[in-house]
């Protein structure tokens, strides 16, 4: 019997799991995917917003700025890449300058520190690659960039380290109300729990509707992105937004924590929750809009494009509350942007709700807040490199050329407590295959290492989601 079962191991589920692991609770983290952070969390702008966008008084307004300020300590404890590079919202005319004023006011009310409205001259002095056509900009010093999946993996690893039980590839098919709480039935197993936290992202409606008559609907809102090569990662120094519109915070141009350049997203409401495809219309649109922000856009340096889905509800705010007709069932739904930025604050908010319901939950004495990242071999000093190779020869072998990733790092990614099982899971942990050749050289090697370390056949290794098989069989098997 679990005390708390969290459904969904995205950044929100993993944040809550890690927060709950500070208490003497038996926690289950249940995920339908074969990896954590594998849906909404893995495809977004990777931005930690300052917190001026949301209307004061909303949950978004309350939790974004608060969450933002928690990232320094969190990322230090968890060894996650995070940079407070600052963000700029560009205004191109007088109307948009007024919008900046409103954003500034909102920011102050939401408790965002260090906000400034800057003149065109000042902005261009700070970043000469920004378009000459601007009138001014809102500068938020606390805006940041992060590795969203590294953050989520780190949270999950640290939660598991502190006793959380993680169950991947478990799709919840039904939830039964019981005297003791809830019985969660997945395609693999059954989990009894006193309380449920529903962080199922795009499918939070489905999970809610299994237990509550207060029906919910999640609307998938797609955003498309271009990722550019590291050679142009320093095109801009800040996260560059344009003035927000009805459909969100607009197309941004930003460096990533790994040194690439990211452009996107657009916003398109869909019905299909699996429509993670890009379209030429969407990609053309983001390029067209992004060209307004910067003087040049070196699109010939694109290395990939991708799409993400935000989990929207009609309420236009986060839904973080106990279901009225289901005691001990807490919905954490509609966590669209700024969900990643708010994640740490959301988890505290959820713990407070749980404390209210459960009355007494005790802090653990031996909680370990630290999680060591996989060493990034290429960033070590000469002596450290040699020491590591001496200790473990696998660090002397580069597998991914573009990102200079060693076999040691890949093996380590596989054998962690929330270890990689797929080629993309390796990629998200150590960046093998994330570079300009997109795995052209290293994918055969990564598959070989995965198969060897997991003790399975190469043909069993998948690219990403279940069913994404890569090899169809040994050669000569098809020849008649």
């Amino acid at each position: 019997m679990f005390d708390v079962a969290i459904i969904g191991a995205g950044v929100i589920g993993c944040s809550i799991a890690r927060e709950l692991s500070k208490y003497n609770l038996n926690v289950a983290l249940i995920e339908k995917e074969n990896d954590v952070g594998n849906v909404t969390t893995k495809a977004n702008s990777a931005i930690i917003h300052a917190g001026y966008d949301a209307k004061p008084g909303t949950l978004k307004g309350k939790l974004n700025a608060k969450g933002n300020l928690m990232f320094d300590e969190l990322c230090r404890e968890l060894e996650v890449p995070f940079k407070r590079v600052g963000s700029l919202v560009l205004a191109f005319d007088d109307d948009e300058m007024k919008t900046l004023g409103k954003l500034y006011e909102q920011g102050i009310q939401n408790g965002v520190p260090e906000l400034y409205i800057l003149s065109k001259e000042k902005v261009l002095e700070m970043d000469p690659n920004i378009s000459d056509n601007i009138k001014g900009a809102l500068y938020a010093k606390t805006g940041g960039i992060i590795g969203p999946w590294e953050f989520t993996i780190a949270l999950a690893e640290n939660a598991v380290e502190n006793g959380v039980n993680i169950f991947l590839s478990n799709e919840v098919v039904d939830i039964e109300k019981k005297d003791f709480g809830y019985r969660i039935i997945t395609n693999k197993d059954t989990y009894d729990t006193k309380y449920v936290v529903n962080c199922a992202g795009l499918y939070a409606d489905k999970i809610n509707n299994m237990v509550s008559n207060n029906k919910m609907e999640i609307i998938p809102r797609r955003g498309q992105y271009y990722l550019l090569d590291k050679t142009v990662g320093n095109l801009v120094k800040y996260v560059i937004f344009q003035c927000p519109s009805k459909l969100g915070k607009g197309v941004l141009v930003t460096p990533t924590v790994h040194g690439n350049l990211l452009i996107g997203p657009d916003a398109e409401d869909l019905i299909d929750k699996t429509a993670l495809n890009t379209t030429s219309e969407g990609l053309n649109f983001i390029v067209e809009v992004a060209r307004r922000s910067v003087k040049t856009l070196p699109l010939n340096m694109a290395i990939t494009n991708f799409a993400g889905l935000r989990a929207r509800t009609e309420r236009d705010d986060f839904i973080i509350e106990e279901a009225v007709d289901a005691k001990g069932f807490i919905n954490v739904a509609g966590i669209e942007s700024p969900g990643l930025s708010s994640a740490p604050a959301i988890s505290l908010y959820v713990i407070d709700i749980l404390k209210n319901i459960a009355k007494k939950i005790e802090k653990k004495e031996n909680f370990n807040p630290y999680r060591r990242a996989i060493p990034k071999f290429i960033e070590l000093s000469e002596d450290e490199k040699n020491e590591l190779v001496k200790k473990d020869k696998r660090f002397g072998k580069i597998i991914c050329r573009c990102e200079s990733i060693t076999e040691g790092e890949i093996v380590s990614a596989i054998h962690r407590n929330v270890g990689a099982r797929t080629v993309d899971a390796v990629k998200r942990r150590v960046r093998a295959g994330m570079g300009r050749c997109q795995g052209g050289f290293c994918s055969p090697r990564v598959i070989e290492i995965l198969a060897r370390e997991l003790g399975v056949e190469m043909t069993e290794i998948e690219k990403d989601h279940e069913g994404s098989y890569i090899l169809t069989g040994p050669t000569k098997s098809e020849v008649q």
């Binding site: 990609l283 002397g396 580069i398 052209g440 990403d464 069913g467």
Partner: protein
């Protein structure tokens, strides 16, 4: 560690360069290869057709490589496999990593860069759609099939008519897969004509010019691709879409010289070739650092890679022995009409032996034309061609005596329709 010459990359270019340098008297040479064996991409090219120019016979890739590897061994040239070069710099220091030595610095008198090239990816050409498994570059698929021994799919569409794509169309067919179509954006093939005939025509595989892939279906594994005809601006034409049900998409959409090490060392790169600017000795903008093979420009025949690498090996030997002449007449090569690039970009006349081969690519198909070679605007040589195409590299051989009466000047080559 100290060496006279460090050769980065043990493919056909590196092998020939190291051998030639040794034959020209260079003592301490080390060749560094990141893969587990020498030979580079040749090792996965198990088809034949290699060596017609160099050996006058048709060899497979591994056979062609073996001849050079044997010679390397006979000449007792040192090499390191499973060794990655992480950095080189203008002081001619080479930083390497392997499991035995760890992270090491090598001081060299000269360096030859022969890192080859890599394939353009789906991301580089921006195909929209889902991102399932089953999308491979042709070379990656070739490695899976020919080296690892695994099939990558059963029903295949190939985008791009580059040579590796064409070769893989045949290879997949022979392995029992069904290749539904080869789709080429341009109105002409970017591969060799002989490969079109031997790999597509002989197996009744259709080739569609002026077509491209505009959508990929399949959330986990490729379930199909949509192809469409493009207009003169390479924009897909509405209403021409055709859906192909398949489990695999192979990309053969071009190769890019692998110059990350060169760039980081500060070597000047020619935007047209994506490789370093080089002179007649294949020396880059940094004195004593030479380059050859696909790292300089993408070749379609390994034989030409070998010839170019030998030139680099001789150049490096001359440099190490202090025999290179860096003053005197300098001729710069300039693209005339119809020429996309010429390698080398610079000729120092004093360093030429009897003759020099200029490698170039044209920008379109021209039938019955001439290649006019002009020195400061005056035609000095003219070569008749029945057909030139972007898919086949052209070479022009010039004698030192053709050039020797001129002072510093430019040499242009242009395509003239007859």
């Amino acid at each position: 560690m100290k060496y006279d010459l460090v050769v980065v990359g043990g493919g056909p270019a590196g092998l020939a360069a190291a051998i030639e340098a040794r034959k020209n008297g260079v003592e301490r040479i080390v060749l560094i290869e990141r893969d587990r064996e020498l030979g580079g991409i040749l090792q996965q090219c198990i088809h034949n057709g290699f060596g017609l120019h160099v050996f006058g016979e048709q060899l497979t890739g591994p056979e062609y490589a073996e001849r050079f590897i044997n010679e390397l061994n006979n000449l007792k040239i040192e090499y390191l496999t499973n060794t990655m070069v992480l950095e080189i710099n203008d002081k001619k220091e080479v930083y390497i990593l392997n499991q035995e030595l760890g992270f090491r610095r090598i001081e060299a008198k000269a360096i030859i860069l022969s890192m080859g090239c890599r394939e353009r990816t789906r991301g580089a050409i921006g195909i929209p759609g889902f991102r399932p498994a089953g999308i491979f570059t042709a070379g990656t698929a070739q490695r899976f099939i020919n080296i690892e021994g695994y099939m990558v799919g059963k029903k295949v569409v190939i985008l791009g008519s580059g040579d590796i794509g064409l070769i893989m169309a045949r290879r997949l067919t022979l392995e029992g897969a069904k290749v539904l179509a080869v789709v080429e954006l341009m109105p002409y093939s970017t591969g060799l004509t002989r490969n079109i005939v031997q790999c597509l025509h002989d197996y009744n595989i259709p080739l569609f010019f002026e077509h491209t892939v505009i959508d990929i279906k399949g959330k986990n594994r490729v379930e199909g691709v949509t192809i469409a005809k493009v207009d003169n601006n390479r924009v897909p034409i509405r209403g021409t879409e055709v859906f192909y049900e398949c489990d695999t998409l192979l990309l053969s959409v071009g190769l890019i010289p692998e110059n990350e090490l060169s760039r980081n060392a500060g070597i000047e790169i020619d935007a047209r070739t994506s490789g370093p600017f080089v002179n007649e000795s294949m020396e880059t903008s940094i004195e004593g650092i030479f380059a050859c093979g696909n790292v300089v420009h993408v070749h379609d025949l390994v034989d030409f890679v070998t010839q170019e690498a030998q030139r680099a090996g001789r150049g490096a030997a001359r440099y190490i022995k202090g025999e290179a002449i860096d003053n005197g007449v300098v001729i710069r090569t300039v693209n005339g009409n119809g020429i996309r690039y010429i390698v080398p970009q610079k000729l120092r006349l004093e360093n030429l032996n009897d003759e020099i081969n200029l490698f170039m690519r044209v920008d379109n198909i021209y039938n019955n034309c001439r290649l006019d070679v002009k020195l400061d605007g005056k035609i000095i040589k003219s070569f008749k061609k029945r057909k030139v195409t972007p898919g086949e590299m052209e070479t022009v051989k010039l004698k030192k005596s053709d050039l020797s009466t001129y002072n510093d000047c430019s040499l242009s080559i242009e395509v003239v329709k007859e």
